[in-house]
């Protein structure tokens, strides 16, 4: 599509129009998957492995089946043979269909604590629960592989005997827990280090964390007698779910209809099918609709958290601060089957820095943990925590201000990403200039002991993928946007704005409908900061198509050629004789019976340029020297958003992402003991409460993207990238200790201080 980078005067774009679907949410009317109730519906429950690693010798479901009220019990044996379970599923993280099949329900081996072993459908949740107790499983318990470094050692137990490392080098002879070893490089690393005045190397570690969406994963499946399956589900992408079901249940796509319910947060964690295949199997077997709602503990144990990492960073720099070389090694834990976000982490880690010589090595490693899913800028937060902490240390050792150091090395248009694609228009330097002038950076810290300020950068390339939208114009001139694009982040609101803007009609005359897979054409999932950008472009295109169709009708009415018809504000006229005109309503009404017929504009994009996003966060903290507890005093997020289509929505994304990053930085982690998660509750998995966060100030920088609608960039992912590093850098200045591990819990900060005072 045409680049719309110059800023025209707009009516709705850039305005704080109210959230499209807010009313139903503040009144409790919005329907989430768990709210559904169908006639004859059964309740499904899942039996899960108590062992992180075990062979399944035998499953006896007879007693459970005999319990009154139990209508179906399924195990892996109920899956159709895996003939069609071929290929890879996209989304944010790749997963092979075979692995998805294995994850859905354990075949002969439980790969993590919480792995589904069997599922039951019964008339009440109580009966289903009781039935789970009656299923007998004989396990042969195996030693668990607890973390990626351990998994890589040659004598580690193997999770999958048929897993061989994918690598560019020599093909391995022995199976391994390393699924992939990837490398990207540029220039001559050794030369770069040789040119340096200072070579600095540090290592970092982050733990498994969860997206923490408030709505537990839930689904309702209804298998009709003719073999069709209808699913109402809480997902970020209905077409991905449909495809998974097609593969796993051996069904043509036309026989699976996926209807998206409202989704109570996803953040990358509701992409691949987890409960859906089980609910469908149970429904098929029982002949009733089946609802499965996870408990919070199940959500923690058996959905898809974010990857734990071990990261090493080595850089060389000149005395004046210029970086000469950088090497990053990323070891990322995928959990039970391959697919850690090594791609995202590789792209993010060195993104802000201009480097002639660099190399990134990444390892995708399997362990006995739940298989990871994407979590907002997947891989980005650990990568930035490592690199941005490291860069602060380098700047300090060189005696250079951390902001000046970043400015000096900042990438610009034409420089290259770590995968060698050239950057198109980017706003990193504008972001840094804004920081340099902003009181959050220039004003002194509020007086008090043990306080410090930290800065860190973040990057996200932004996915684009395929988007499709239809815009219908009704007989009265009102319009409806129809698509299968799930509204995860307020899409309906911004898309309503785009349609109203482009069709030049009042906001109220535009409706937005999210349809199902049976009635809308393919569109990719809502994730990766792609929705506003890529789907927005599709909607924009659909509107252009609508206008073209309307022109044909107007021309028919005015007995002229469409090329001679002009349009503005609900009125068509002939360019050469403006008196000859007709209003939109008349044209719309005529379209139902004249000429080319009813208006249905189609817009699609498959390949936009990326619209890279940069952010900088500045945090002021205070550290309690006695307990190690960190309190955030002030927090400011700077971000190049290209164009804020709706500032309220954009700020919401920035604040939400920052809040999640802060939780990741300070309190959240999976506490594993021998592969078993010990804190699967919101009491002990500590997400920030309202008392743990300050107001999060947003400074939106607008450097228009090279492509896409109105210059807007995706905004949802990058805000989670800088917080951990910004806080680590602030804690360093406040407490004099550098933390190399997340989360920076009070106890960790306390111990770090003890360790340094013992030395010093």
């Amino acid at each position: 599509m045409a680049t719309v980078s110059e800023r025209k005067k707009t009516r709705y774009i850039g305005k704080r129009t109210p959230k499209y679907d807010a009313l139903e949410r503040v009144t409790g009317q919005a329907l989430f998957a768990a709210d559904l109730h169908l006639p004859g519906m059964l309740h499904g429950k899942v039996l899960r492995s108590p062992h992180p690693h075990a062979l399944i010798k035998r499953i006896d479901t007879r007693k459970a089946e005999a319990l009154p009220g139990v209508k179906a019990v399924v195990t892996a044996a109920d899956l159709p043979p895996p003939e069609r379970a071929q290929g890879m599923l996209g989304g944010e993280l790749l997963i092979s269909i075979m692995d998805l099949r294995r994850l859905t329900i354990a075949h002969d081996k439980a790969l993590f604590e919480g792995h589904a072993i069997a599922a039951v459908a019964a008339t009440t949740p109580e009966v289903a629960e009781e039935a789970l107790d009656l299923i007998q499983v004989d396990y042969e318990v195996l030693p668990p592989v607890e973390n990626a470094l351990e998994a890589m050692s040659p004598d580690a137990p193997l999770l999958q005997p048929d897993l061989y490392t994918k690598t560019l080098g020599e093909q391995p002879e022995r199976p391994s827990n390393v699924a992939t070893h990837s490398e990207s490089s540029r220039g001559d690393l050794e030369r770069g280090f040789a040119e340096a005045d200072l070579v600095h190397e540090t290592s970092y570690e982050t733990k498994m964390v969860h997206q923490g969406y408030l709505e537990p994963t839930a689904t309702v499946a209804h298998a009709q007698p003719d073999g069709r399956i209808t699913l109402w589900t809480s997902t970020q992408g209905i077409f991905g779910i449909r495809r998974s079901l097609g593969h796993l249940l051996d069904l043509p796509l036309g026989k699976v209809n996926v209807i998206p319910t409202e989704i109570g947060g996803g953040f990358g964690g509701k992409i691949y099918a987890i409960l859906e295949p089980l609910a469908a199997l149970l429904s098929r077997k029982s002949g009733h609709p089946v609802k499965i709602v996870m408990s919070r503990a199940e959500v923690f144990r058996a959905t898809g958290p974010a990857s734990p990492t071990h990261i090493t960073v080595k850089t060389g720099a000149k005395k004046d601060g210029r970086l000469t070389a950088a090497y990053v090694k990323l070891v990322m834990d995928a959990g039970a089957v391959p697919g850690a976000p090594i791609g995202g982490a590789s792209l993010v880690c060195l993104a802000p820095y201009k480097l002639d010589h660099m190399k990134i090595e990444a390892y995708d490693v399997v362990t006995n943990k739940p298989r990871v899913q994407a979590y907002r800028a997947p891989g980005g937060t650990p990568a930035a925590f490592a690199v941005e902490s490291h860069m602060d240390q380098v700047a300090e050792r060189l005696g250079i201000d951390p902001l000046a150091f970043r400015m000096l090395n900042a990438v610009d248009e034409g420089d290259r990403m770590t995968d060698d694609r050239p950057y198109n228009r980017i706003g990193l330097k504008e972001v840094l200039r804004r920081v340099a002038k902003h009181p959050s950076w220039t004003s002194p810290l509020p007086p008090g002991p043990h306080r410090g300020r930290g800065l860190a950068l973040g990057f996200w390339a932004g996915a684009t993928l395929t988007s499709t939208a239809h815009v219908l114009v009704h007989a009265d001139g009102t319009a409806t946007l129809v698509s299968g694009q799930v509204d995860l982040t307020g899409t309906r609101t911004t898309m309503q704005q785009i349609v109203a803007e482009e069709l030049q009609v009042p906001l109220e005359s535009v409706s937005v409908r999210v349809g199902d897979t049976d009635s809308t054409p393919y569109t990719d999932l809502s994730a990766g900061s792609r929705t506003a950008y890529s789907f927005g472009a599709a909607v924009h295109n659909a509107c252009q198509d609508v206008l073209a169709q309307l022109r044909v009708h107007a021309a028919d009415h005015l007995t002229a050629q469409p090329e001679h018809v002009e349009y503005a504000d609900g009125r068509f006229w002939l360019r050469d004789s403006p008196d000859q005109n007709v209003d939109l309503v008349t044209v719309a009404r005529r379209s139902t019976f004249r000429a080319t017929g009813p208006i249905c504009g189609r817009g699609t994009v498959t390949r936009l340029q990326p619209a890279p996003q940069f952010a900088a966060h500045v945090a002021d903290v205070e550290v309690d020297p006695d307990t190690g507890k960190v309190t955030i005093l002030r927090y400011t997020a700077f971000q190049d958003v290209g164009r804020a289509l709706n500032p309220t929505q954009v700020e919401g994304q920035v604040q939400g992402g920052a809040a999640q990053g802060i939780g990741w930085a300070l309190t959240e982690y999976y506490h594993f003991e021998k592969g078993v998660m010990r804190n699967p509750t919101f009491l002990d998995y500590r997400m920030p409460t309202s008392l743990d966060l300050p107001m999060i100030d947003c400074e939106l920088v607008e450097v228009p993207a090279s492509d896409g609608p109105y210059g807007a960039r995706g905004v949802g992912e990058v805000p989670i990238v800088p917080p951990a590093a910004a806080l680590a850098n602030a804690v360093y200045r406040a407490a004099g200790v550098r933390l190399h591990k997340l989360p920076m819990t009070p106890e960790e900060v306390f111990r770090a201080r003890q360790a340094t005072s013992a030395i010093g």
Partner: protein, 294 residues
């Protein structure tokens, strides 16, 4: 949840009869903020859940001169904290009630439930122990009182017999020239269980800084709430100074027998006891009009 029956008797006698006669496990219920989840998670079982909130005696909330404060078993933490006498005379009780969970939890949860659940981390217990509170228990043999300090026998365990109910908590009037404070440490700022908690009480002799009586009670650092008697001894009979407080804080650690778990390591818990003992004692001195220079 596993099936059980529910009873909400209107009189104490009915409740006691039920406890005595019921076959199976009867679980008294007040706020349910511990019990309901424990039943759901199957950490506890129940054949009968006995809701005591319809029993009038359980709602007593009264301050009687010379006797002290009576907090009935069915009184919520929120109501306790809002009670005038508690506001005026028992700031540490108030503070601890307002630490239990969130507003929603405080509106349902009771001190009785906190006490009977007998978690080592129970927040309302340490202040009550420092105030020499007693648990008034009723059963088929009538009423008995047990000093709260002796009420707990292990994590989740206490002296209540199966046929008994906690009726109320009785707290003697605070000593003159005394001050009481409670602090706990949690990684977040709300909605967390104490990694460690300390309540300190200091009573001074009339005029001056000589400590007539000290009580220090600890939470979450031993199988039960415990008193740090050695630390109290450091203070009693002496002029309270910063140095003395420091010494008491060090001594308080001796009373700890902490474990390492999801919420913190044993070493860290000991460190926190030191910090919180120091802070609560300094706070007490400050509110007695005897601030110590730091």
């Amino acid at each position: 949840m596993r099936p059980f029956t529910y009873a909400a008797p209107q009189s104490l006698q009915e409740a006691l009869d039920l406890l005595a006669k019921a076959n199976g496990t009867v679980r008294p219920l007040v706020g349910g903020t511990d019990l309901i989840d424990q039943l759901r998670q199957r950490r506890k079982t129940a054949d009968v859940v006995l809701d005591i909130k319809r029993i009038p005696e359980m709602h007593r909330l009264e301050y009687v001169a010379r006797e002290g404060l009576h907090v009935g078993a069915a009184v919520s933490c929120a109501d306790t904290a809002a009670f005038a006498a508690v506001r005026e005379l028992y700031p540490a009780i108030r503070a601890s009630c307002l630490l239990v969970g969130s507003v929603q939890i405080q509106n349902r949860a009771s001190i009785a439930g906190n006490v009977c659940n007998s978690a080592p981390s129970a927040d309302t217990v340490p202040p009550l122990v420092t105030l020499d509170a007693r648990a008034a228990i009723v059963g088929p043999r009538g009423r008995r009182e047990v000093p709260l300090e002796e009420f707990f026998t292990g994590p989740g365990q206490n002296v209540l017999r199966g046929d008994e109910l906690l009726l109320e908590i009785v707290v003697p009037p605070p000593a003159p020239h005394s001050s009481n404070h409670y602090l706990r440490f949690i990684p977040r700022n709300e909605m967390d269980i104490a990694v460690a908690g300390v309540s300190s009480l200091v009573a001074l002799r009339p005029r001056g800084r000589i400590c007539a009586r000290a009580r220090i009670a600890l939470a979450a650092v031993a199988p039960t709430p415990v008193r740090a008697k050695a630390a109290e001894a450091v203070l009693e009979g002496h002029v309270v100074t910063s140095e003395l407080i420091e010494a008491a804080a060090e001594k308080a650690v001796e009373a700890c027998r902490p474990i390492t778990d999801v919420r913190g390591s044993a070493e860290y818990r000991k460190e926190l006891v030191k910090v919180l003992t120091r802070r609560t004692l300094r706070h007490c001195m400050a509110s007695l009009g005897q601030p110590l220079e730091s």
